[in-house]
């Protein structure tokens, strides 16, 4: 049982890696776009008269941006690509639940997107001589794990949304920038107006990211960090449950109407 679960996971991730992730388009999302946004942040800082940019926001923030952009386009594109290639019916008709396939694919998308973060850390270390001395290593690890989990939950939620309605594709494409904007990928959340900060509270990425930044600044593991971790975990689980609910609705719809391709 467990063996077949992992075998399925490895096969799914292998196919996903070959079919969707290893492409120039994905590499552009993981590396080029974040590098451009990071460069804009640095040049704006330079134009404002700052001698050096804030690396946590400008460089590492771009890494998060790469992870998010990669996730939005690969996870949501998966269902659309299956629809176009005619494999969506085959997947839904197979004994393996669609959600499990989507789950493994999203996992690979997140792991692939993490290379964007690795590149950002590499750039911070090698180009800008950023020092990781004094960081809360335990906090960084927990926060990053929670950030990955938050991204995964949002990924499967968005993928299921796409299976639910063809029109949602437009909506999902539109999410890339607003989430980056609201969750403060490239600046502290306090820069946003209060009403925007309130909206951003419903995204688990914001809390994982805040935890990560606090830990990078060396904040000790205490009540503040724990609160952010709990919020990240709790809201991620809500997205996961919503994704499960959507998954059930999609399957019911398919069974009742016999339609899938036309959704």
């Amino acid at each position: 049982m467990i063996g077949s679960f992992f075998r399925l996971g490895i096969r799914q991730m292998d196919v996903q890696l070959r079919m969707r992730v290893l492409s120039l388009w994905s590499l552009g999302l993981f590396f080029t776009q974040p590098a451009v946004f990071s460069a804009i942040g640095m040049l704006l800082a330079r134009a404002a008269g700052n001698t050096s940019p804030d690396l946590i926001y400008t460089v590492l923030g771009a890494g998060i941006m790469g992870m998010w952009s990669g996730l939005v386009f690969t996870s949501t594109y998966d269902i659309r690509a299956d629809r176009r290639e005619g494999t969506l019916e085959l997947i839904v008709g197979s004994p393996t639940p669609l959600r499990r396939v989507v789950g493994f694919r999203s996992l690979l998308n997140i792991l692939a997107g993490s290379t964007s973060m690795l590149a950002a850390v590499g750039a911070a270390l090698l180009i800008f001589n950023y020092s990781f001395a004094g960081i809360n290593t335990f906090g960084v690890l927990i926060s990053f794990a929670l950030l990955l989990f938050a991204l995964w939950c949002m990924g499967i939620f968005l993928a299921n949304l796409l299976a639910w309605s063809r029109l949602s594709g437009t909506f999902v494409d539109l999410l890339e920038m607003p989430i980056a904007l609201l969750c403060g990928f490239m600046y502290p959340i306090g820069v946003l107006p209060v009403w925007m900060q309130k909206i951003s509270a419903i995204f688990p990425i914001r809390w994982g990211l805040e935890g990560l930044r606090e830990s990078l600044k060396g904040s000790p593991t205490g009540e503040v960090l724990a609160t952010k971790w709990l919020l990240a975990l709790g809201i991620s689980l809500l997205y996961y449950l919503l994704a499960r609910w959507f998954d059930g609705k999609v399957h019911d719809h398919i069974r009742v109407t016999g339609e899938l391709h036309s959704i």
Binding site: S23, L24, W25, L27, G28, T32, Q33, V36, F37, A39, I40, G41, L43, L44, A45, R46, A47, A48, G49, N50, P53, D54, Y57, L167, G169, T170, F171, D173, L174, E176, M177, P178, A180, L181, M186, Y187, P188, V191, L192
Partner: protein
Amino acid sequence: MINRAAHLVRLYFFQAWFSYRSLFAWSTPFSYMTSKFGFPFFSMLLFVFMGKFVGFLDPMFIVIGNILMMPTTNGLYGISMTIGNERQFGAMSYLLGSPAPRAPLFLGRAFFHILDGFITVLVALPIAMLIFKINFAGINLLLLAVCLILLSITTTGLGFIMGTVSLLSRDGWMFTNTLGQLLYILIGVNIPVERLPGFLQPLSGYLPMTRGIMATRLALSGAGWSEVIGLLAGELLVALVYILIGYTLFRLVERASMSTGSLDSI
């Protein structure tokens, strides 16, 4: 002679209308609006907040720059897709096999994108005026209109070039996208060109839109014809060079495909 000219004009507008319609055939009004305004609007806000965080004290520079950048959605991405999709939709062989003159076939793909890009900025500017309380009193509206039309035209040169690149490479869209993002840095959209690092400034001068954006900013601040005419002339020249390069590239690719028959198999 007159019949020949009428035929060319008819072909130009026929191509313009059908290539534009086929590009957005899949689109609902909602997806059209979001693709035109969604990404530019939210990325503009992102840059504004990035500027606020680092202490860049002129958010209006970013707002106006990003609005003036909007025609690239049509001029760069739209035209590049229109040309690149010919192969994807299987229409390239018919197009290359037809005896129709190439100039209206190729250049006709830009007309409605120019119009659409111009209208997009015309819609976005007043909205920005309302949201960000920008005072545009005392501006020369005719000069502003000329600047905006010129901006909508000049982006098409890059679109023609990248469209031809997407005929040569299946990853052409990635190159177009990368170029589009680099424009956010290089042409004075978010950062004044004079404040870019020294090695980037000459590059800005060779790109379309740089002078057009400078001229439009001046026009918005109340400048007259005499102050911007040099910039507009420079912009027009750069635009013509890029359009000529795009057309020449297309003809070269077409000729190569005639001899090798390989265009559809790339």
